[in-house]
Symmetry: C2
């Protein structure tokens, strides 16, 4: 099976497919209520005046098996970009064929080609199956760090607050 996986950058024509895959991923994570993405918003943010992320799609035959969405992050200490994998999803019917690894290998090749220092992503702490898989690929946890987020009303308030 493995040799029949093809990975290619998404095109604007793939927008309906990308939205479907995002919604399937969210449903799988039981977070569908958090999805507000529309085709129009995806078009603007991925294929508009400025592209904020890139998408690659894995196909087996003519069928879309999964996707990865990524963007460039940056390491100050080495003054080089990295690749940050925001989402990786393989449709249930296509699991076990190596699509996940193929998508990660593709990103690792892109990272090397683009002279990036790192490939990074985040995983839910309870997802031991994913953690074991990632560690088998040589990934190591940055477990001293916690991400913080300001969003919604708190973001507006911080934006409007006086300095000092």
């Amino acid at each position: 099976m493995a040799e029949s996986i093809r990975i290619a950058p998404a095109q604007a024509a793939d927008l309906p497919l990308i939205l479907s895959l995002i919604r399937e991923l969210a449903e799988f994570e039981r977070l569908l209520d958090q999805v507000t993405a529309s085709e129009e918003q995806l078009k603007e943010s991925l294929f508009g005046e400025r592209s904020f992320a890139e998408v690659i799609i894995a196909r087996i035959g003519d069928e879309a098996a999964g996707f990865a969405l990524f963007f460039h992050n940056y390491s100050t200490f080495i003054a080089k970009p990295g690749i940050y994998l925001e989402d990786l999803y393989v449709r249930p019917a296509f699991r076990g064929h190596g699509c996940g690894k193929a998508l990660l290998c593709h990103l690792a090749r892109l990272a090397v080609e683009r002279r990036c220092g790192r490939l990074e992503w985040s995983v839910l702490d309870w997802n031991q199956r994913a953690i074991d898989f990632y560690e088998s690929l040589g990934a190591r946890p940055l477990d001293e760090w916690t991400m913080y987020r300001v969003t919604g009303k708190a973001l507006l308030e911080l934006a409007q607050s006086e300095m000092g």
Copy 2:
């Protein structure tokens, strides 16, 4: 003091200053041995053909008091970019004047102006003083997530591995 803090985007002429600030930050974190950044690499990655990150500098009078380096990340579920703050540093002599908050407020304003859904950053788990400060600004931890990284030899091996 607070009204005298001026924040402006860094220019190419600030490259020697940016490198000094990065090295001071690394020294403060006792990670100076990890810094391989040079002015030339910073120039290429920040002001080159493609800019992978942006820098803002806080000045009090004519003196550089601190800086922030950030880039755009992306949320799939809302199909919008966010701002990710990679580094925030205020020189010891200028602490206590609100520079850190002023830099964060500036980024929150940029996030709102650029129609971003979020402002995010990471903090070392033992840095309770920073955590208290961030929580006072309305930031919330994403503490179910751990970041994984592939770098160096493991990244090259993953890039070269066969699919499947």
